[in-house]
């Protein structure tokens, strides 16, 4: 493992010549997405990357996937509460980070998308995101060099269809693995936490890890974390139709959290301090509030200012600079 990570440094210098690989980090569970029927290749990955950054796929040719999923923000959308799509249209939810997607079974804040390969269709077709449709894009790609030859290189056929379009995008996004933060290096015993980080880690394990479970820093469940007495966005209920799911949202990973503000499904908090203050004093009682946030008739998670700073110090050890700066994933 250590050897592989050492290798990834040379990949930063010469991405084109390095073979793109998907490796399950030693401290991670088995992946959900296994590239079945969509074998990861350099050509497929490179094509997926080109598509990811091609704004011509949107209705007014202004928005690419990369517009709202910026590498420097962990592929979230820095400083945007909600997605800003074509025709200056604002979406309704905060663009999530993109990495370690191969370990997710469901996607979006409400878990509505149930296979990684079909996730991009929503953003491509949403009138407030890219505002296009698959037929338009497939026609465009079939008529636009060098796409036919790139698809031929990747999939053996120059005839482009939505399946190969989506598979290429998935090769790019599924290969995004962030597992080389300071936290990971500490776990691998390559370095150690500072005292404050260590104190924060202990607090985190006591107070946060029930939901933000290591090593993905999410247990991938949906909970109501008491943001509102009455959630305007019904969240998970939109998918299940269950009243008990109203105001529940997917627990997000905390990896690269330092870089991916603002926070929550609607981006209401722009700093980690505000997020922790929400858990300290801001939790609203509602019928679906998670039991972990109303223990012993006490709302939220009591945190002193010192504890908050210690937790934030720990959260910053989840920043993976190698991933954020890895040219393999950059627009170039």
């Amino acid at each position: 493992m250590g050897m592989l990570y050492a290798c990834s440094k040379t990949e930063i210098v010469k991405p084109q010549t390095e073979e793109i690989r998907f490796v399950v980090p030693t401290n991670f569970p088995d992946a959900v997405y296994k590239f079945n029927g969509n074998i990861l290749t350099n050509n497929g990955f490179a094509l997926g990357k080109k598509l990811f950054y091609d704004a011509r796929l949107s209705a007014d040719k202004s928005i690419s996937c990369g517009s709202c999923h910026q590498q420097f923000a962990g592929f979230a959308n820095l400083d945007h509460k909600v997605s800003h799509g074509v025709n200056n249209c604002l979406g309704k939810r905060n663009a999530p980070v993109l990495f370690n997607l191969a370990w997710q079974r469901e996607f979006f804040w409400d878990g509505g998308a149930k296979n990684l390969e079909i996730v991009p269709i929503n953003a491509i077709t949403d009138v407030c995101e890219m505002g296009s449709d698959l037929n338009t894009i497939v026609t465009f790609l079939n008529n636009t060099a060098p796409y036919p030859s790139l698809f031929k290189d990747a999939f053996g056929s120059a005839t482009i269809n939505s399946q190969n379009l989506l598979r290429a995008l998935t090769q790019f996004t599924a290969a995004m693995v962030s597992a080389n933060s300071k936290y990971d290096k500490v776990i691998r015993k390559e370095t150690v936490f500072t005292t404050e980080e260590q104190q924060g880690y202990q607090l985190f394990k006591d107070k946060c890890a029930n939901c933000h479970t290591e090593p993905l820093f999410t247990n991938l469940n949906y909970i109501n974390n008491g943001l509102d007495l009455n959630s305007v966005d019904e969240g998970r209920k939109t998918i299940t139709g269950l009243a008990t799911d109203k105001g529940k949202f997917r627990i997000p990973t905390l990896r690269n959290i330092e870089l991916s503000s603002p926070y929550m499904h609607d981006g209401r908090f722009n700093t980690l301090e505000k997020v922790l203050e929400h858990y300290n004093t801001g939790v609203q009682q509602n019928e679906n509030l998670d039991v972990s946030l109303s223990k012993n008739s006490q709302l939220g998670i009591t945190l002193s200012n010192t504890q908050k700073q210690q937790i934030i110090s720990f959260l910053k050890t989840l920043t993976d600079d190698e991933f954020i700066k890895n040219k393999i994933f950059s627009e170039n």
């Binding site: 029927g37 979006f108 998308a113 296979n115 390969e117 079909i118 269709i121 989506l166 598979r167 139709g241």
Partner: protein
């Protein structure tokens, strides 16, 4: 002619008939054949015409139809001996706006006489959860939900003066695979034993079905467009699926 002679004569006739039949029915089961599934869209007995024709539902509401599309999948044929042949990768999408979609050739069927057909109205759970599909399941065909991923099994759109929706619209997008709102339904029909589906290497029989768009709104629960004019999955889609399960398809005849 006495009884005995009649019996002999009858036996002789039957033998000739039987052997001549048997001769016809010599089937090389290793051979494969093709048949055509034909779907004829109607609304409660009258031909379905998009946009121009007004219809009346069981509740007495007037309506017209702008879109009518539906999936049939996992087609299975049962032989007289009870053995079942599941046609691999049988996913077909019918679209009232594309007449050619209503005639579907199904190839590589083992030869033999089949007396029953069954299929899924919609798409099985596995493909709803699978990765990017192509062919009839291509999400570009407008039968795939992206926000709550999965296939629309039956899509009916139109207008009705009784609809309380904006523009008097009717939007019935039926789908969903999770209980209690699972809308996957199965249809089956026996063929006449006297005229089974005879799959032969050198023949191309045709199985003809009537498809009644009006079945969405009657049966288990008569639908009033004032009360229900929009559904995209969920409990109301279950009401519609429970209606059409017994009335959407009607086996008409086979041309052997």
């Amino acid at each position: 002619m006495n009884i005995k002679n009649i019996s002999i004569a009858l036996f002789a006739v039957l033998t000739i008939v039987f052997t001549s039949c048997k001769k016809d029915e010599t089937i090389n089961t290793a051979e494969k054949g093709t048949f055509t599934l034909e779907f004829e869209n109607q609304v409660n007995g009258t031909p379905l015409l998009l946009n121009t024709q007004n219809y009346t539902n069981a509740n007495g509401d007037s309506f017209n139809i702008s879109t009518f599309k539906y999936y049939v999948s996992n087609i299975k044929l049962t032989k007289t001996d009870g053995s079942v042949y599941a046609i691999p990768e049988s996913y077909i999408l019918m679209d009232a706006a594309k007449p050619s979609s209503l005639l579907n050739n199904l190839k590589d069927i083992p030869t033999g006489d089949y007396t029953k057909i069954s299929f899924t109205i919609g798409v099985d759970k596995e493909r709803n959860l699978a990765g990017a599909q192509t062919g009839a399941l291509d999400p570009a065909l407008g039968m795939f939900w992206t926000w709550n991923s999965g296939y629309i099994f039956v899509k009916f759109e139109g207008t009705s003066p009784q609809s309380t929706a904006t523009d008097k619209s009717l939007t019935f997008h039926i789908g969903g695979i999770v209980d209690p709102n699972n809308t996957i339904r199965t249809y089956s029909s026996d063929f006449s034993t006297g005229n089974p589906l005879r799959i032969r290497a050198d023949k191309k029989p045709q199985v003809h079905f009537i498809v009644n768009a009006g079945s969405l709104f009657k049966g288990k629960q008569t639908i009033s467009f004032a009360n229900l004019n929009f559904t995209m999955g969920g409990a109301n889609s279950v009401i519609v699926a429970d209606n059409y399960v017994n009335g959407l398809f009607e086996f008409e005849h086979i041309h052997n």
